[in-house]
Structure formats: C-alpha cells, structure tokens
Point group: C3
Chain length 288, copies 3
C-alpha cells in the first residue's frame, strides 16, 4: 500500500463494531463520571438507561428531529442498541466494578477516547449527506444537521440532564460551548464547504486530516490538565474583528465577572442575586 | 354466547363513545385534583384547556412525536376533541360544581376509573400496531410507542405542568415511575412479545386478562389507601439480581445523602428542603 | 384604481423583501430590549444568533413541528436567513450602535412595528392554507397552525429564553397571553371561519380590514403608555358568561393577588414564597 493511499483506505474504515463500541464506552464512562449519576443508576435503572442512550445516540435523535424523522428511529437498529445497553450494564452494574476500573487505566481510556473521536468524523459526513438528500444544496441545513449529528449528546445535554432530574437552565452548549461541540461545528462547516466544492480538497483527505486533528487534540487535552483550546487565538481575533467594536478593556473585565456570575446556580442566596443584578444594571449602562 | 368466547367478543368492544368519555372524565378529574389547577382554570381557561387536552390525548401526542407524525393530529378528530372539551367545561366550570360533586361519589368514581383502564389496553395495542406499520418488526420501537401511547399523559407530565406554570425538574416518571406508567410498560412488553409470537397466547385472551388485571388492581388501589404495588416483590428480586451486586450498607448511606441533595427541588425554601431530604433518606433506608 | 379594489390589490402585496425586513428589524429590536440580551450578545454571539432566528422564524419553526415537517426548514431559504442575520449583526454589533439608535427614533420605530403587523396577516393565512393541505377541513388544526405561524415567537418564548440561559416556568403565553398572541388567535379563528365559508366576507376584504385593525391597535398601544387591550370588555363579558358562575366578588380580589404573585420570579426570597403558598392554600379552601 502506498503512503498516498492511506487517506482513501482510512475513509473506507467500517465503524461497526469496534469504533461504535468505543463510542458507547466513552459516552457511558462520561455519564458515569458526572455528579449524581451513580446514585441515579441505583435509584432508577430505567432513567439511567435512557440517559445513556441519549449520550450514545443523541446525535441521531437530534438530527432526526431536525429533519422530521422519527427520533426513536435508532431503536430499529437492535444490534447497536443492545451493544450500547451491554456497555451501560457493564459500566454501571458490573460486579466489583471491574469494567469501570479497567477503563480508568489511562492508556485504555486514551484509546477509547481517540476511537470515539474517529466516529465523530463519520457522523458529521453522514449527517451532511443525509441533510443533502432531504434539502438539495441547502448549505445552512447541511451545517446544522452535520453539527447536530456529530455533537448531539452535548447539544441536548439540558434535556438529557432533565431525565436524571437535573435542570441547569443557566448553562447550555450554545451559551458556553465545550471544545467537542466547537470542533464539531468547525468540522460541519468544513465538510459542507467540501460538499459544495468550495474547498479544493478531496473528501477522503479532509476526513483523514480532520480526524487526525480531532484525535491529537483530544489526547493532548486529556494528558495536559490545564489545556487551552486550539481555537482560543482564532476566537479572540475573530471576536475582536466581528463583535468587539465597542469593548474598552475596563468593560471587558466587568463582563468576565458578569459571565461568571450568570453561569452560577439558578438559586443563589438573595445577596448574591442582588449583587449580580446590580452588576448587570451597571453593565447595561456602560454598554449604552 | 359461550364462556370461552367472552375474550373474543371483549376484544371487539368499541371504545367510542362510552369508554373514551370515561377516559376524558377520569383524566379531567385527575387534573382538577392537582394542586393549583382550580386557580389556573379561572386565571387562564386556555392554559387549563390545553392542559386537559394533554391529559386526555397525551399518549397520542407523544407517540405521534416518536413516529414523526403531526403531534396535533388528534385535533383532526373533532368529535373526540369536542367531547373532551365538554367534559373539561363541566368538570371545571359547571354551575354549583354539580358535575364534580357527582363524580366524587365513590362508586361512580370507581366505574369511571375502571373504564379508563380498559382504554389503556386498546391504546397499547393500537400503538404497537401503529409502530409496526412504520418499522417492520422493530420490537424496541413497538415497546416504546405502545408504552408512550398507553401512558402518554404520565410520561409528558413535566411539560404538561409547564403549561400550568409549574416546573418540577427533580421528579419525572422515568426517575420515579408511578404505578400506571409501570403497568403500561409491562403491558407494552407483553403485547410486543405476543405480536412477535414469542408468547404462546392468543391476542384477545391476552387483552382480556391484562385488562382484568388493570381494572382489579386499579379498583383495589383506590379502595385501600396504603396499597402496595403488585410489582414490588418482583422489582425487589429483579433489582437485587441485576443491579444490586455491590451495595454494602455503608456505601448506601453516603450515596443516599448525595442523591437527596442533587435531586432536591430547585427553589424550595430552606426549611422544606431539609424536611424533604430527611424524608428521602428515611425512604431510601426503608427500601433497603 | 377604484377605491373598492384597494383590498384586492392589498391582498396581492409581496412580503419579500421590505415587509420581511421590517419584521426582522422589529423582532431583533424586541429581543435586544429584553433584560440581559446585550450581555448575551457579547458572551456568546451564537446563542444570540439562535435566539434572534427564533424571534424571526419562530412561527415557521412551531408550525413545522406541529405538522411534522422539518423545524429547521426555514434555513433552506438562504436569502431570508442571511437578511435576518444581517439585521441581527447590525442591531447588536454595529459600530457606535448607529443602527439601534436610528430605529429608536419613534416615527421609524412605529413604521417598522406597523409593517411587522402586516406580515402577521400573511403568516396566519399562510399557516391555514398549509394546514389545510395536510388535513382537509380539520378546522381545529387550521386554527392551531394559523395561530402558531402568526404568533410563534411568543408561543415558544419559554424555549427561546432557555437558549439565552433564562428559564421562567411560572409564566408562559398560555397562562398570561400578551396582546399580539391574543389578536393572532382571534385572527386565526376569523380566517379559518372564512376558509370554511362560515363567514360571509371575501378573503381579501377580511385580510384588508384585519390588517388595518392590527396596525391601528399596535400603533395606538405604542403611543399610549397605559393602553388597555381592545379585547378587555369582550373578555370580561365572555369570562363572566362562560367561566364565572361561582365567583363572589371577594374571591375575585384574592385571585387577582394570586395571579400577580404567581407570575413573579422563580427564585423569590423564602418569605415571599411562603406568603404566596399561604395565599394559595387559603384560595383552595375558599374555592372548595
């Protein structure tokens, strides 16, 4: 096999079963490590199962809703659902917690996380192709569906948490995007541009290099605790260019304070609340 | 008519108009007895009407959403909607409250509740048939849609309450299933098994015996105030077998503490909050 | 052109681009004037953009959901979305805030608001025609979809606020209808009656007079600060006739108090909360 053909062969990789399995394991582990998840798993195994399914198949649910298809359509693929359910059972209820302890071993954890990122590329391109079959060349819908399919679990996190009895209206993935959601949006834009032939690169090459980027940044961020998003400098420049006309530096600081106070819990003690209200009023005055 | 033919004739019973009417009456009475519902009915008759419709047609709304059909499709059946609206009007705004007082008379109440349970069987089987017409032999979707159609009002209760300005994220029917939702899930599984011919029983026989079980348990639970769910022993055994491997008592306690703090209401006053936490802890201990 | 032909010509008016543009400007200005919106626009431009799109295309999103069509279908119309995005950019990020200051000039503001009301008529009739193409002569669905298309931004306001991290479950447009939502409901009923030929008036005449009514009341309400809804007397009579049988005047007063307390913020200080709970309990006693 020549070196130049690696991307082409890579783009023909089958996701089922190994990569899908890794995605389910990484998703279930991610859920298990959220606060209160273990308790929910004993209180109500059904809520825990639904929550896990939303983590594993959230992209499918969200993109189906967007294209007016059955949001429970993923259940028709019994093999994948049973696989994900098996993973759910092993992660939460395995005797002696053997399964979870195994995958807490860093090298194994890194491998699973890396493989999960590979499935992301496939999901984005799948979503874009699917959207294109519904709406011919509607590039905004392609971006939206590709994004939703690739980052579904994150985008619906508010409603996934609601299943577990948790409601955090003050934060969502649009207000404060996490890195995976951000990188999926960038990917959805790139693959849509490639699809509409605005980007002079072959599809399999883009898939190859985007996946490499995903895996490398993911692994790096897991290994370095205080990692900075690779988008931070671009965001700063772009934000300054597009949205930052009227930001004097002093203003910026008070805004940072504001954002931190507004993402705090919804039921602060009255005193905190008044402070933040006061801050908001001042902020409005300054901006005006 | 022979005795052996009773189930067959029973399975041909028409739900419209008598049984449907009983379902609407029982649903509207159930809503009226919820805290704050009478005030809402005077503040905003429209919110009260929408809420009543969600109680009466919730199963239809939820199963339509699941199968990517119009969630307001039930409105196309004007006769049923007008019947339900008439019931809504009589339950909430009848002069001297005659209607509500009539149906507070226990024997009448029992009859209506029993008839409502009969419609449940019809809804579950209807949902399963409907799901099967969309996804051939996808048994997970059949169970999901049968369950949603039969117990829709319960499953969407969080959003039904939102219409009335009430939001209780800390509780939902997946986290803490009520008896009707639980028995509908069991029914949906049984009828799906029957549909895929894994259960050696004729459909009309299963309908007959399942309905008898529904009506008898419902009436029993209404007559005995501190009734225990007939599923409690099975659940205990099943929970112990499947999910209970690693529960040392010491672990449980710390877990109970954690769970109560995370599932408590988002805006309780501090005192209520502590009380309910205490209650939950006691509850958890009892279950153990 | 004769005077009698004015309504006919009026009914053939094209909404694109001028009236659509006015709708986007009025919607974006409305959003910008909500508390906290300016801060969100700097914290997260994407959340602000999504929120603005929900304000501009909320009717389309909601009516698509109701008829089981793609809720993101409006994105396929790239021209309109780009136009709305341009307006969003100018309203929130224009250097020196020139755009916002221009449209704060009252005569310009009135013109834009008036033109927005014109689009409402077109949306209602569009929604009714659309619903009729799905469900032949289902008048309840026609009213519902016409209403949703015309007043979508208002009806989904709870979820639009959620995008901005705000959650006010205690108030929604069904519990306490704003004037635009109310007048759209009346319009949807009138146009449905006209569609089913129960109303002896030509379609273009109804469109003409309904739009005049919309624009005149809107402009009047913007000019007179303490304006009373023109429906208030009808509502009082209708409410008394249909829903007010058992209301002694004393009861009414406590109810008014109640409603005002129930629409207060979701995170009241404990003392307010207890008072309102107490009031509710007393209320329940009185009603029973």
């Amino acid at each position: 096999m020549e070196l130049g053909q690696v991307p082409l062969h890579f783009s023909r990789l089958a996701m089922f079963p190994l990569f899908d399995l890794a995605h389910y394991v990484a998703s279930a582990l991610g859920l298990r490590e959220q606060r209160g998840a273990v308790e929910i798993s004993y209180q109500s195994p059904i809520a825990c199962w639904v929550s896990t399914m939303l983590h594993c198949f959230g992209g499918s649910v969200l993109s189906s809703l967007m294209l007016a298809e059955s949001p429970v359509g993923f259940l028709a693929n019994s093999t994948n659902v049973l696989l994900a359910s098996l993973v759910w059972y092993l992660v939460f209820y395995c005797p002696q917690d053997i399964f979870y302890r195994c995958f807490s071993f860093l090298p194994l954890r890194l491998m699973v996380a890396g493989m999960k990122e590979v499935t992301r590329t496939w999901k984005i391109t799948g979503g874009i192709t699917h959207a294109n079959s519904h709406y011919k060349n509607a590039w905004l819908i392609m971006v939206a569906v590709g994004w939703a399919r690739g980052a579904g679990g994150g985008l619906i996190s508010n409603f996934e948490q609601l299943v577990r009895g948790i409601w955090k209206p003050e934060s969502n993935e649009l207000l404060k995007m996490s890195y995976p959601v951000k990188v999926t949006l960038v990917g959805a834009i790139l693959f849509t541009l490639q699809h509409t032939q605005s980007l002079p690169i072959a599809r399999h090459n883009l898939m190859f290099f985007y996946t490499i980027f995903l895996v490398v940044t993911k692994v790096t961020m897991m290994l370095t605790p205080s990692a900075i998003s690779p988008f931070a400098p671009f965001e700063a420049v772009l934000g300054r260019m597009l949205f930052g006309w009227q930001h004097p530096p002093s203003n910026m600081k008070s805004e940072a304070k504001l954002s931190s106070s507004s993402t705090s819990s919804s039921c602060d003690s009255p005193s905190t609340r008044e402070n933040s209200d006061g801050a908001k009023k001042r902020q409005v005055k300054k901006v005006e």
